[in-house]
C-alpha cells in the first residue's frame, strides 16, 4: 500500500492546530491596555448587527479611555433568559439592549438598575430629547429604566410602480390611506388586478409575533386601550378585538393576501415584486431596497379611524451588578449618549431614531423612504404594560396560538376573545416570577 500524503498523526495534529488557531481568532478584540472595557450585550444580527458594529467601532476609535466590547446573542426568548441569568448572578454586562416592552417585567425583581437622569443630562440626554410615547415606554415606577435608541414600528411598505399602475397613489405620489376597511380592501383589489395575483404580503402563519403586531395596530386604531392589571382581569374592548380579527381574516382570504402566508413567504413574495403592499416591520426595508424593489413606506392606513402604529424600541438598559464599576458605568453613559447622537446611521436600517435632535435633523427628513413614516413616532403604541408582555415573550406566542386558527378559518371570533380573556386572567393571577413575593 502506498503511503498516504498525510498520516493519521499528522492529520490529527494539524486539525488540533487549526482548531486552536480558530479558538484564538474567535476571541473578542480588546482595546488599548489603558482603556476600561465596557461589556455590551445586544441581540442585533444581520443588517442591523453590521450597522451597530460600525457605530461601535466609530465610537471606540474616538475614545482611548474606554473600549466597548459587544457580545451578540441570538434574537428571541433565549436572549432574555441569558440576560436575566447574568443579572441574577450579579455579574451582568455593564450595558445591554432590551426591547422596551420587556423592561417592566424585569424591574420588580431588581434585575435592572435605573438610569441616573443627571448623568444622562450632562451628556445631552433627557425627557426633552424623546417623543412622548417613547419616553413613557422607558419609565417604570417613576424611574427611567431604559433609554430608547429607536422605535421600530410595524408599517406598510409598498411597491411604487405597482401601486401607481393600480391608481392607489395620491396626488403627492404616496400610497392612499383609506379610513375604513371596505375602501382598503377595494384598493387592494385594484392592486391585485395589476399584479395578476395578490395585492398584499403579510406573513403570520405560526408566528405569534407577526399576528400580534398587526392585531394590536388594528385594535388600537379603534381608539381603545388594553389593560392588564396585576392580580385583576384583562380589560379590553371585545368589539374592537373581534373586528380586528375579522379584518385580518378578510386580508388573508387568498386574494388580497395569501391564506397561509408565513413570514418568509411574505418577504419573498414582496421582494419578488408579486404584490403591491407588505405589512411588516421597518427592519425589512433594507432587504427590499437591496432586492431592487421600488419601495416606499407609510404607516398602516387607519382603517378603524385612528392613527396607531404598533412598535417596540431597542433600548439600552443597565443590568443589575452587585458591585458596579462606577468608571465603566460612566463610560456606558457616554457611549449611549454618543450612539444616540449618531443614530442617523441607525435610521438607515429603517428604524425611527428615538433621539429627537436626530429625528428633527434636516438630514433625516431627506432620508427616504424613512422620512415618509417618521410621523409614526407620534402615534406609537407599545404592548400593554405587564411583566409578561413584549417582543418574543411567551404571551405573544400564546396569543398566536389562540387567534391563529380564527384568522385562517374566519370563525370562532367570540371563542377566541373568551380564550384570550381566560388566558390573560390566568397569567394576571400569578405572581411575576422575577419577583414572586410581591404577587
Amino acid at each position: 500500500m502506498s503511503s498516504p500524503l498525510v498520516n493519521r498523526r499528522q492529520f490529527l495534529g494539524g486539525s488540533l492546530a487549526v482548531a486552536g488557531a480558530l479558538a484564538f481568532t474567535g476571541c473578542a478584540p480588546t482595546g488599548p491596555a489603558s482603556a476600561t472595557t465596557v461589556q455590551f450585550w445586544h441581540l442585533l444580527s444581520g443588517g442591523d448587527g453590521i450597522t451597530m458594529e460600525g457605530l461601535i467601532d466609530g465610537i471606540n476609535a474616538e475614545h482611548s479611555d474606554f473600549f466597548i466590547r459587544p457580545t451578540v446573542l441570538a434574537w428571541g426568548t433565549p436572549y432574555y433568559t441569558k440576560l436575566s441569568m447574568a443579572g441574577a448572578g450579579g455579574r451582568a454586562p455593564e450595558l445591554a439592549m432590551m426591547h422596551a416592552a420587556r423592561v417592566p417585567g424585569y424591574v420588580p425583581g431588581g434585575l435592572l438598575d435605573p438610569w441616573d437622569l443627571d448623568m444622562l443630562a450632562e451628556r445631552g440626554v433627557s425627557s426633552e430629547t424623546f417623543t412622548e410615547p417613547v419616553w413613557e415606554s422607558s419609565v417604570v415606577d417613576n424611574q427611567l429604566y431604559s433609554v430608547a435608541l429607536d422605535a421600530h414600528p410595524f408599517i406598510a411598505l409598498y411597491n411604487r410602480d405597482i401601486c401607481e399602475a393600480a391608481g392607489a397613489l395620491d396626488d403627492e405620489g404616496h400610497l392612499q390611506r383609506p379610513d375604513n376597511p371596505d375602501d382598503f380592501l377595494e384598493m387592494c383589489r385594484q392592486i391585485a388586478a395589476v399584479t395578476g395575483g395578490r395585492a398584499l404580503s403579510y406573513g403570520f402563519l405560526g408566528d405569534g409575533n407577526q399576528m400580534w403586531r398587526l392585531f394590536y395596530t388594528l385594535y388600537c386604531q379603534h381608539g381603545v386601550e388594553m389593560r392588564f392589571p396585576q392580580g385583576g382581569t384583562a380589560e379590553f374592548d371585545r368589539e374592537a378585538f373581534v373586528s380586528s380579527l375579522e379584518f385580518m381574516h378578510q386580508i388573508a382570504d387568498g386574494e388580497v393576501a395569501a391564506r397561509q402566508g408565513t413570514i418568509d413567504y411574505a418577504i419573498a413574495e414582496f421582494a419578488g415584486q408579486q404584490t403591491g403592499i407588505h405589512f411588516t416591520g421597518v427592519w425589512e426595508l433594507p432587504t427590499m431596497q437591496e432586492a431592487g424593489v421600488p419601495v416606499d413606506a407609510t404607516m398602516i392606513p387607519p382603517v378603524f379611524g385612528q392613527e396607531a402604529v404598533y412598535a417596540d424600541s431597542h433600548s439600552f438598559v443597565l443590568p443589575h451588578q452587585s458591585e458596579p464599576d462606577e468608571e465603566a458605568r460612566g463610560h456606558a453613559y457616554t457611549f449611549v449618549a454618543e450612539l444616540l447622537k449618531n443614530s442617523l446611521a441607525w435610521a438607515g436600517a429603517g428604524h425611527i431614531p428615538a433621539y429627537r435632535p436626530v429625528l428633527e435633523d434636516p438630514e433625516y427628513a431627506e432620508l427616504l423612504p424613512q422620512a415618509h413614516y417618521a410621523e409614526a413616532a407620534d402615534h406609537l403604541v407599545y404592548d400593554p404594560t405587564a411583566w409578561f408582555t413584549g417582543s418574543g415573550s411567551n404571551f405573544i406566542q400564546d396569543f398566536g396560538q389562540i387567534v391563529g386558527g380564527t384568522i385562517v378559518s374566519g370563525s370562532g371570533y367570540e371563542a377566541a376573545a373568551d380564550a384570550f380573556q381566560e388566558h390573560v386572567d390566568a397569567i394576571l393571577a400569578r405572581a411575576n416570577p422575577a419577583n414572586p413575593e410581591e404577587g
Binding site: 402563519l205 409575533n209 419573498a268 406566542q397 396560538q401 416570577p433 414572586p436
Partner: protein, 320 residues
C-alpha cells in the same frame, strides 16, 4: 493499574489464610480495609461527578419543585405541593404529555416497520449495497437544526415541496406545521426520515448474523421465500426489535429539538412536547420551581414506562 493488580495478588492469599491463623486476623482486616480504600479512591472521581451532576441535581430538583424559585434568582420560598397541584390542573401539562405519548406511538411504529423493510430489501443483495446503506443512514448524521430547516422548507404551505406534490394530485394545500393535529404528524414524518437509518443499520447487522445454513436447510425442505421470512428471519430479529423499541421509546419521550425548531416558537396544543413545556415554564417563563414539578411528573411517567419494559423483558427471559 499494575499497582492494584500487584496489591490484589499480594493480599488475596493472605485473605485465604485468615480462618486458620487468627493471630493474623487484625492484619488481614487492615489489609481488607486498605483494599477497600484503594477501591474507593479509584471510584472517587466518578462518584464525585455522579453525585455532583446526577444525585445532587436530582435531589435538589425535588426541593426546587416545592418552592417558588425563579430563574432570576428571586423567590425560593417553600410552598409545599402547590406547584404539583397547579401542574396537575394545568391543561397544557396534560396536552403536552398527551402529545409526547402520541408522538412516541406514531413515530415508533414506522421507525420499526420502515427500518425493517429497508433492511430486508438491502439484504436481498441489491446491487450497490454501499449506496443504499449510505443513503438510508446519511440523514441520521445530520444535526437536528439542519433537518428542522430542511423540513420547514418542505412543509412551507406556499412555497414548499410537500404542497407542490399534493397539488399535482389535485389536493388542496395543507398548512403542515400550522394546523392543529397535522403539526405533530409533520414532525413525526421529519423525525422518521431523520432517524430511521439507525434502526435500519441495527436490523441489517442482525440480518447478516443469521447463518446462511438455515436458509439453505429451509430451501431443501421446500420453504419458499415468504416461509423463510416468517419462520427464520423474523423470529431471529426478536432480540434486536426489543432493543430498537426500548431505544426508540426513550428517544421519542425526550422529543424536543426538532419539535421546538420546526414550530419556530409557534407551538400549538397538539404539538408541544412535555420537555418543551418544561423549558418554557423554566427558562422563558422563569418559573424554575414549577418547571421542576412538571419534570418530576414526567419522570414518574418514564419510570412507569421503564417498569413496563422490565416486566416485558423478564417475561421474555422466562419464556426462553
Amino acid at each position: 493499574m499494575t499497582d492494584v493488580a500487584a496489591e490484589r495478588s499480594a493480599i488475596a492469599p493472605r485473605d485465604d489464610v485468615v480462618p486458620e491463623a487468627s493471630s493474623t486476623g487484625s492484619t488481614a482486616s487492615a489489609a481488607r480495609r486498605r483494599n477497600q480504600l484503594i477501591a474507593w479512591a479509584f471510584l472517587a472521581p466518578f462518584m464525585a461527578a455522579f453525585v455532583l451532576f446526577v444525585i445532587w441535581p436530582l435531589t435538589h430538583g425535588v426541593y426546587l419543585s416545592m418552592t417558588d424559585q425563579s430563574l432570576t434568582g428571586a423567590g425560593g420560598r417553600f410552598i409545599g405541593l402547590q406547584n404539583y397541584s397547579e401542574a396537575l390542573s394545568d391543561p397544557v401539562v396534560w396536552s403536552s404529555i398527551r402529545n409526547t405519548v402520541w408522538f412516541t406511538v406514531i413515530s415508533t411504529v414506522p421507525l420499526i416497520v420502515f427500518a425493517l423493510v429497508m433492511a430486508l430489501l438491502v439484504n436481498t443483495g441489491l446491487p450497490g449495497q454501499w449506496l443504499w446503506r449510505l443513503a438510508f443512514f446519511m440523514p441520521f448524521l445530520l444535526a437536528s437544526t439542519v433537518i428542522s430547516q430542511i423540513w420547514m422548507w418542505i412543509f412551507n404551505p406556499e412555497l414548499g415541496a410537500a404542497n407542490e406534490i399534493l397539488q399535482r394530485f389535485g389536493i388542496e394545500p395543507i398548512a403542515w406545521l400550522q394546523t392543529e393535529h397535522i403539526d405533530i404528524i409533520s414532525i413525526t414524518i421529519a423525525t422518521v426520515w431523520w432517524t430511521v437509518g439507525f434502526n435500519f443499520l441495527l436490523y441489517l447487522a442482525a440480518l447478516q448474523n443469521i447463518p446462511d445454513l438455515q436458509y439453505e436447510a429451509a430451501a431443501v425442505d421446500g420453504a419458499g421465500r415468504w416461509r423463510q421470512l416468517f419462520s427464520i428471519t423474523l423470529p431471529q430479529l426478536g432480540p434486536v426489535t426489543v432493543v430498537v423499541v426500548i431505544l426508540q421509546m426513550l428517544a421519542s419521550l425526550k422529543l424536543f429539538d426538532q419539535a421546538y425548531q420546526m414550530m419556530d416558537g409557534g407551538s400549538s396544543d397538539t404539538s408541544r412536547p412535555i420537555v418543551q413545556y418544561i423549558f418554557e415554564a423554566g427558562f422563558t417563563g422563569y418559573r424554575f420551581g414549577y418547571a421542576s414539578a412538571i419534570s418530576y411528573i414526567f419522570f414518574a411517567l418514564i419510570v412507569i414506562v421503564g417498569i413496563f419494559q422490565m416486566v416485558i423483558l423478564s417475561r421474555r427471559r422466562e419464556n426462553r
